[in-house]
Symmetry: C2
C-alpha cells in the first residue's frame, strides 16, 4: 500500500475510534468499521491530498482531515446506495455489502452515522486553521447535500426524466470536485481554479464505472457487473455505445489534466493524474485508449 | 401558532430554500419539504431557544440556526425511523409518511440530505460567532452520531440485549440534551450545567411516547398507536407498567425542572418547562399526574 493510502487509513481509523468509544452499540460499531475497512482505491482522499501537496501544503493535519471526511462520505453513500431499495447489491469491495452482513436497519444507521462522523472529523481540526476548515466544511456540505451534491445525484434516479449530464455531475462529479477543492481549501488556496479537475475526473470515473459495468471483471471489481443494465439506469454506455463512452472517458481525462492551474507542484500532479486515470479503463477496452 | 414557532418555521424555510435551489431534482426537493412542513410540536428547537433566552441571548441568529439544525436532525431521524425496515410507519404527523408518499429511495436520500443541511445551516452562521457556532457543531455531532447520539440510540434496537437506560438516553435524550446545550452554547455560556435539563426532558418525552403508544389517541397523535407492542420494542410501559411509567415520567420532569442552573431567566424557564411537560401526558392518564 502506498504511503499516502496508509496515512489516509490511519486518519480514518482514528476518526472511527472516536465514534466507537464509550457505550456504543457493538453491532453499529462493527458495521461502520466494516463499511470503511478494508477500503477501495481511496481515489477521492488521494486526490484531495495530491491537490494539497501540489499547492505546497506544509502541515498535513487539515488536508488529512478533509481527505478522511470526503472518504467517510463516500463510504456512507456506498452503504446507502447498496440498500435493497436502490441497487440491492449483495457484494461491495469484494465482500458481502453492509446490509447483507448487518441487515438493512444497521446499514441505514451506519450510513447516517458516517455522514455525521465526516463533519465531526473536520470540526475536530477547526482550531488548527479556522478559516481553512470552515471552507472545507462548506465544500463538504455542497458535495454531498442538496441541490447538487451526491445525494441529489442519486435522487435523479427517482425522476421520470433524467438529464444525464446533471446526473453524472452530481452523482459522482460533486464529491470528486469537493475532494479537489477541499485539498486547495485545506492549505488556504482559492478553490474555484480546482473545481474543474475534480468535476472532470468525477465524470470520467462515472463513465469508467458505466464501462466496467458492461466490460469489467466482477471479481476484480469487487461488485456484480451489469447492474446498470439490470436496473435500467441511465448510463454513458447505453447513450453513447462502448466506443463512444471510451472516447468520452479519454476526453474527460485530458480536460482534467489541462485544467490543473499553475502551482508549485503542477507538473507532477498532471503526470500523476494522467497515470492514475489509465487505471479507470477496463483491461478489455485498454487498446481503444492510446 | 406561537411567535417562537413561527420564527423556527421561518428559519427552517430559509434553510430549505438554500437546499432546493438550482437544478435540484424536483421530487427530492418536494420530499425534504414534506418531511419538515408542517411540523410537529417543534419541542426540541423551542427548548433550544428557551435556554438561549433564559441565558440572556441578545441576538437570535445563532440560537435560531442551532434550533433549526436540531429540528432538521429530528426530521431526518423521523424519516429514517419510519422506513419499512424500522417501524414501517404509514402515517407521521397526521399524514402519509415520507416513504409512503415518495417511496423508500427518496426517503433514504431525504433523510441523508437533511442531516447534511443541519450542519450547513450552522456553518452558514460561523462568521457571526465562530466559537459559539463551533461549539454548536460539536454538540450537534455528538447528539446525532456515535457513540451516544440518536443514531446509536436507534441502533440499540438491533442488539440482542438492550440496556433500557442507554437506549432511551441515546434514542431521545441525546437530541434533547443537544438542544438545551446548544441553546447555552449559542450565547457563549458553559454547556455542561444545561446537559441534565435536556437529558431528563428527553427521557421523560420517551416515557411519554411509550405511554402514548398504549394509551394515546391515534388521530391526535398523528401516527399509529401500539407500534412498540407490535414491533416488540423495549418500552418503559412493558418494563414498569402504565402506573410505574407514569410515575417515572413525573419524576423525570421534576428532575429536569430542578436541574435548571441559575441564570437571568431561570424562574420563567422553570415555569415554562413544568407547564409544557404536562402536555406530554396522554389525557386518559392525566389524573395520575397531579
Amino acid at each position: 500500500m502506498s504511503d499516502v493510502k496508509t496515512r489516509i487509513d490511519q486518519t480514518l481509523a482514528i476518526a472511527l475510534k472516536h465514534a466507537q468509544g464509550g457505550d456504543c452499540p457493538p453491532r453499529l460499531a462493527e458495521a461502520v468499521e466494516y463499511a470503511v475497512f478494508p477500503g477501495g482505491a481511496r481515489v477521492r482522499p488521494q486526490l484531495c491530498l495530491a491537490v494539497a501537496g501540489a499547492c505546497g501544503a506544509r502541515d498535513s493535519r487539515v488536508p488529512l482531515a478533509a481527505a478522511a471526511a470526503i472518504e467517510l462520505m463516500h463510504c456512507a453513500s456506498l452503504v446507502h446506495d447498496d440498500l435493497p431499495c436502490f441497487d440491492n447489491a449483495p457484494i461491495r469491495r469484494g465482500k458481502p455489502s453492509v446490509h447483507a452482513t448487518y441487515g438493512e436497519r444497521l446499514a441505514v444507521l451506519a450510513g447516517d452515522a458516517l455522514i455525521v462522523l465526516a463533519f465531526e472529523t473536520l470540526v475536530r481540526e477547526i482550531e488548527t486553521a479556522p478559516k481553512a476548515v470552515t471552507e472545507c466544511l462548506r465544500i463538504l456540505g455542497r458535495g454531498v447535500g442538496m441541490p447538487h451534491g451526491i445525494s441529489a445525484g442519486q435522487a435523479w434516479e427517482c425522476e421520470p426524466q433524467v438529464p444525464l449530464r446533471e446526473y453524472h455531475q452530481a452523482k459522482t462529479g460533486a464529491l470528486f470536485a469537493a475532494a479537489s477543492m477541499a485539498g486547495a481549501a485545506a492549505v488556504g488556496e482559492d478553490i474555484e481554479p480546482w473545481r474543474d479537475l475534480g468535476q472532470r475526473l468525477g465524470e470520467a470515473y462515472q463513465v469508467a464505472d458505466d464501462l466496467q459495468d458492461v466490460a469489467g471483471n466482477a471479481e476484480k471489481l469487487g461488485k456484480p457487473i451489469a447492474q446498470d443494465v439490470r436496473l435500467g439506469r441511465p448510463s454513458a454506455v447505453s447513450s453513447d455505445g462502448i466506443r463512444g463512452a471510451t472516447e468520452k472517458l479519454q476526453r474527460l481525462v485530458t480536460l482534467a489534466v489541462e485544467s490543473i492551474p499553475d502551482c508549485p507542484g503542477a507538473t507532477e500532479l498532471r503526470l500523476l493524474i494522467a497515470l492514475e486515470a489509465k487505471r479507470f479503463v477496463p483491461e478489455s477496452l485498454a487498446q481503444h485508449v492510446a
